[in-house]
């Protein structure tokens, strides 16, 4: 089966998932992002690459934060950006996902940035465009269900490479609600593709997916032993609705067992970096002293995120 992200020439035409992306494609995106990073420091913070192109931010699930970063990235590429809040408009009127897509294609969309609560929704759109013979329209997955958040995964890799240069000797711990996390899945695919020495999936059994070790990670239930000798610690957000109930007894107990405190972080390598996809729950998964401490690179992640999204859109729109 052909990877649905690649066109007949093997060039990246959609970004749906990091799974199955060749290492060179990931590296190319990261290299291109580093060129875009400088654009944001100039007098005129934009390049004319996507001039005249229409980028539709189609968010079936609210996320002002992610939508804004895509909007900034598209605008810095000189694209026209149209934000659609689909949660309220069309689906409420009974229009299907593909009806919405057909309508936007009729409005001459060049690129869709899609956020959807259902895993696989961007794949469905890409498959639909292929059947319509519209492979000139590109799809960027901005997060689908629990499945993937590839641009977040890429910006995490950009951040790690920025601070650690190489991946091959790195030990990376991903801590928290991996079960519900599309970021964790994208990070795991990216890290294993880029050759990280060890990726540890850390959390209570209730928050780890079945057979997660098949993705090439080591499962750990004890935070302290999992953090030991880590180069990179990626903390995941614990959604409010999961804090009290059948998955976890309470936020307090979760923090006691899996919260990243300075004492726990001290077990990692002294130069370890701490990442978080945001928004953070201080005092739930991460202690403020760590979040605001010298090892946290959470704000640089945000800056790099714009450049990475510019790179993704710049590469896709040209293919």
């Amino acid at each position: 089966m052909r990877n649905p992200q690649l066109n007949a020439n093997g060039a990246l035409t959609h970004l749906l998932s990091i799974e199955g992306l060749p290492r060179e494609v990931i590296t190319h995106i990261l290299d291109t992002a580093s060129s875009f990073l400088k654009v944001s420091h100039r007098e005129v913070k934009k390049v004319p690459l996507l001039r005249g192109k229409s980028v539709f931010n189609v968010f079936f699930e609210n996320s002002t934060r992610t939508r804004t970063t895509f909007e900034i990235a598209a605008k810095r590429l000189s694209a026209d950006v149209i934000n659609l809040d689909v949660t309220r408009s069309s689906t409420a009127k009974g229009e299907t996902l593909l009806d919405t897509v057909d309508n936007l294609v009729a409005m001459h969309a060049d690129m869709f940035v899609v956020r959807h609560a259902a895993s696989g929704a961007p794949h469905l759109i890409a498959d639909h465009l292929r059947r319509l013979g519209r492979e000139d329209v590109h799809v960027v997955n901005a997060g689908d269900g629990r499945h993937a958040h590839p641009t977040q995964g890429l910006l995490d890799m950009y951040t790690i490479r920025h601070y650690k240069q190489e991946f091959t000797n790195l030990v990376v711990a991903i801590v928290g609600d991996i079960l519900h996390s599309r970021v964790a899945r994208s990070d795991i695919h990216a890290l294993t593709t880029l050759g990280a020495a060890e990726v540890r999936a850390v959390g209570p059994q209730t928050l780890l997916p079945t057979a997660i070790e098949k993705m090439g990670v080591r499962v750990c239930h004890d935070l302290r032993s999992a953090i030991r000798d880590c180069d990179v610690v990626i903390m995941l957000r614990l959604q409010n609705e999961r804090m009290n109930g059948a998955l976890l007894p309470s936020a307090r107990e979760y923090f006691r067992c899996y919260g990243l405190t300075p004492a726990v972080l001290a077990l990692a390598r002294p130069d370890a970096i701490v990442m978080h996809p945001g928004p953070m729950n201080r005092g739930v998964e991460i202690d403020s002293d760590v979040a605001d401490g010298p090892q946290a690179v959470i704000l640089p992640q945000v800056t790099f995120g714009i450049a990475v999204r510019m790179a993704v859109m710049g590469i896709l729109a040209g293919n």
């Binding site: 060039a11 190319h28 290299d31 291109t32 580093s34 060129s35 875009f36 990073l37 400088k38 654009v39 100039r42 007098e43 005129v44 934009k46 390049v47 004319p48 690459l49 710049g314 590469i315 040209g318 293919n319």
Partner: protein, 174 residues
Amino acid sequence: MNAEKKRPTVVLPDAELLCVQLAGLIRPRLRPETVLVGIHSGGVWVAQRLHALLGLGNEIGLIDVSFYRDDYGARGLHPRVQPSSIPFDVEDRTLVLVDDVLYTGRTTRAAINELFDYGRPAMIQLAVLADRGHRQLPICADFCPWRVDLDPSSELVLSQNDNGGLQWSLDEHA
């Protein structure tokens, strides 16, 4: 088959010598605040030569015009984009844009557009090692030591050999 037509053999001059000649052309019009901006990648090598030959104090700027190319729609983004680096304020500066070969003029156009996104220079001059004709835009070089008329089927390429010396080669396309 009409490929039998003999084209005159082009004699390729010594690229290092051309750099010296180019420096000689620029020197009389040099101002204290003049800075060089090399276009990636051949233009950067030439700019580095000129920087040494002219004994300039200012750092040189580097630009990669991939984000400004007019053939992006047809050819996509260049696979190896280098970051542009303009380590000085371009506002009211005199810039000498340096490239290895001036051909259609499209790269120069893209470079000028990019420079204006850093600010408003007082003047931009163009220095090239070779002008091979066949312009598609109203652009001409201020400084050029070698003018040659080459058929569009051949590509004039500047490369750096193992010892770091610059040299010309001519690639023929069918």
